[in-house]
Symmetry: D2
Subunit: 293 residues, 4 copies
């Protein structure tokens, strides 16, 4: 049974943008009028120059609020997702005028926000990836991702060579420009440009999309969301690849590095207005028809 929200944490984009700031200020005004307690995420407050409000570090939000509202595009929500999931805070996304897959509230839809605060909303779980980069049997680096983990070409003009293992079973040794490993959430982002299928967000599944594979018989593979995926950079690979999580944090890899990808125990709790339909968003974004021709 959904509960009402009384203390709201506000997140913005990671760089100053006029439209975002004005939406944020209008939202603050609206929430204050409704006597909702407001906390501004610290970096957001700095970027937007908001001073007369309580702020908090993105890693110290637990207990302070009961809902995170993100103002920005899908990219901004990706940034907030990790903090939200690990601190068990639900997230609502307000876009900047253009419907997002994750930010599905229009900037002027204050009515919809009111309904949600009053406890009238839909909630949906979205899982995240945990990624470990293992070198010499030690975890060198860890990162989370809501959309995708991407193995990318490094500097030199050669294909990357790597092995893929799923649940300790070899899938194949692949020569390719790279590999996209996407959650259902990420299946409509970069993986879609690469020819991957759309995975319904309710699906507990992961898709592996090879990028420009040498073998023309390579295809996207959909596996269980509970799979443990391992990518092993081959010893003799000439092109040193990099790794990117949700389009951020590119880390340089070396031959014999292992990338382990598996589901993060905590998932993201995404809030939608009543009447939200996934396929309606998909139709809007991909210009599919909803009426007979």
């Amino acid at each position: 049974m959904p509960t009402a929200f009384h203390k709201v944490i506000l997140f913005g984009k990671r760089h100053r943008e006029k439209a975002m700031v004005s939406t944020l200020l209008r939202l603050i005004q609206h929430l204050e009028n409704k006597k909702i307690e407001i906390i501004i995420e610290k970096e957001t407050a700095e970027i937007c120059g908001i001073k007369n409000h309580k702020t908090a570090d993105e890693n110290q939000l637990a207990g302070l609020g009961d809902l995170i509202i993100v103002v920005g595009g899908d990219g901004s929500l990706l940034s907030a997702a990790r903090a939200a999931a690990s601190q068990h805070l639900p997230v609502l996304g307000i876009n900047r005028g253009k419907l997002g897959f994750l930010t599905d509230i229009a900037p002027n839809a204050l009515n919809e926000i009111d309904d949600i605060l009053a406890g009238k909303y839909l909630q949906e779980k979205r899982f995240l990836f945990q990624t470990d980069i293992i070198r010499d049997d030690k975890i060198l680096y860890q990162q989370t991702a809501l959309n995708d983990v991407v193995l990318l070409p490094g500097d030199i003009a050669h294909m990357i060579e790597f092995s893929i293992e799923i649940d300790q079973e070899l899938v194949c040794v692949q020569r390719a420009d790279g590999l996209i490993i996407a959650t259902p959430t990420g299946s409509t982002a970069y993986a879609l440009s690469g020819g991957g299928p759309i995975l319904h967000p309710s699906l507990d599944a992961v898709v592996l999309v090879p990028m420009f594979p040498h073998k023309l018989t390579s295809r996207p593979i959909v596996i269980s969301g509970n799979s443990k995926i391992k990518i092993l950079i081959n010893k003799q690979t000439k092109a040193l690849p990099r790794l990117s999580c949700d389009g951020q944090a590119r880390l340089n890899l070396k031959p014999e590095d292992i990338i382990a990808i598996y589901k993060l125990p905590e998932s993201l709790n995404l809030i939608h207005p009543m009447g939200y339909q996934y396929f309606a968003t998909l139709r809007d974004k991909l210009q599919w028809e909803s009426k007979p021709y």
Copy 2:
């Protein structure tokens, strides 16, 4: 805990083929030597001219045996799958010399068969589709499928126009040559030629692959295996489509017909030799590499 098998039902191809008959006869000899009780599926007995054995109709196998062995290709196993699933009989597939996705025992691998009969095997569940064709609110026709349900163009040179609904939510109205709805088992069959992804057989999921869609933004969609899928043939469609289940039984459809597709409650119990690996079969069939280049 796997049990040993003592009474075996033998299924062959649906048309006489020399290699199949000789494999079947050799297998009968081998099973007799091992004192395994043998029942021959009636049509198989007729096609192969096998006379001195107990036979049984494919719909009256329950209680007679504890394992079905199919001799043929993946297509033969598809034919036996419905009888096997509804009568809760596990199935083992013996190929004709060429590895199949479903028939993974070589015709001469009598050792592997002995191990399986002795209780040393892996088993795997594969779900089937139930398909209802609904006209004027009545179910006109029902069919099952292990691989796929395919909406195909009928006679005239126009695209089909239909709506797709999943769990009562509209996905889109589509103009296309047709639509493939495939189980994970079927994802490596016809759907793969149509650009669909590979779904791991352990995945409880279904893929919808549009065939030559009018909208270039149409993409394969992967949804939960528990989804109720409805295809509604549009009123004004000029091309009358047909429906095919596992490549069989093409039924002519009319405007306003509804095709409902959902999971059959009984699933197929597929038997594999110990050491079976799905991805090894995939590598073999698609010529993927298993060693560094």
Copy 3:
């Protein structure tokens, strides 16, 4: 140096449609006011119930007029193309409110039509296919096509098996649902849905697009427009294919039939308004961007 047009032959759609008839009548009125001589193609006159004008059979237009104006969509222009090419008459296409690849004049753009009649226009050559169906060494049937020749599945649920030869060199033996052979004009029609590339209309080339090929390494192949293409239906093919030219005239084929496809000596002379740009049409139809994001 372009010449002005004084005698215009009018073609409409092949079935009655209100918007088409009213555009046609408005056009007749406009041309009469300009003292342009008008001939109505016979079937068009009958379909539209136009009585007080000179009519002519589509095969007996040579010498009667100096320009064909087609009112309808790209499909209507396809129908008129053969008559136009063989009788050396240039063609102008007027659409029904939605930009076509071939019919690029809006129904209300009478100014553009006036300019064209006055000799201010661009002209472009588009080649057509000649297709011979050969059985027992005799030509059984001949057909022309501006867009494409398509080898299609017949009734039974099996892949077609055929060989492709180009200039007497074997390309491959293919198992597929069918094959699309498209001109540059047809490359943005059915072939595009099948994953084929866009061929610029100025290119003297042909593309072969396999439909749902069995081999995942099959790819569209672009060859010279002067190539002689031969498709040989294999002896043992179980599925009897059909052949379609520009989406019309499906002919049933038999094993060992040969389909020969080559360029028709006469090409179509397509008229465009000044300022016409192929890529502008493409951007409009495929919603590509023309401005920085």
Copy 4:
């Protein structure tokens, strides 16, 4: 009428490889026995430690020989192609045991080489690209390519934004990871992994293949080989792209840089043994069938 060859220039790979050196030495021996005059390309001589032969710089070969023989893979032939084209020397490619698209003579096929030297061969023209990088209205850099010119992502995780112009007509503004511009020769190399079509080598055409385009309606476009292509890096692009010609020489680009790509006046004269068939090579490389199934 083909002429016999008497003075042969030998080219090897750009790094030492045992198999290549031994093939080269065996070939030298064979040619000496046949009294053919031998010139070793300077870098090849150094890499292979060949001392008792006349050597020449790759840019000063004109007049010294009448045929270049390349020992290596297709990559080695790419390196030699520019020198060969500009100095009007025909090229023959000897592979290292695995059939190449360009290097189609097996290392032990001395008979075939003898026939070719005696004047029994086929020759084929392959065109090359000239690429100018223009900054502030000046040509900053020029490069040639036999396979492809590739616009690649630079370091940052953003799509590149660029405009494409063909013969001064805007094609579109594109957001993508990059763009491949390939000759027919290059259409079976990197462009094929990216979903491009195969262009027959006799075709005077170029294909543009978008890499992971943002717009799902983006498609490979085939244009005339005589087209002048311009890629304009957009002012506001955040990701600085790089440019690669035949997989070499990655140059960093800046916003507002212009890349002009057009046909080099001199083409490569590629020598094949009698009986060479392009489609036979294609079948071999892509495992297409040549016999009925």
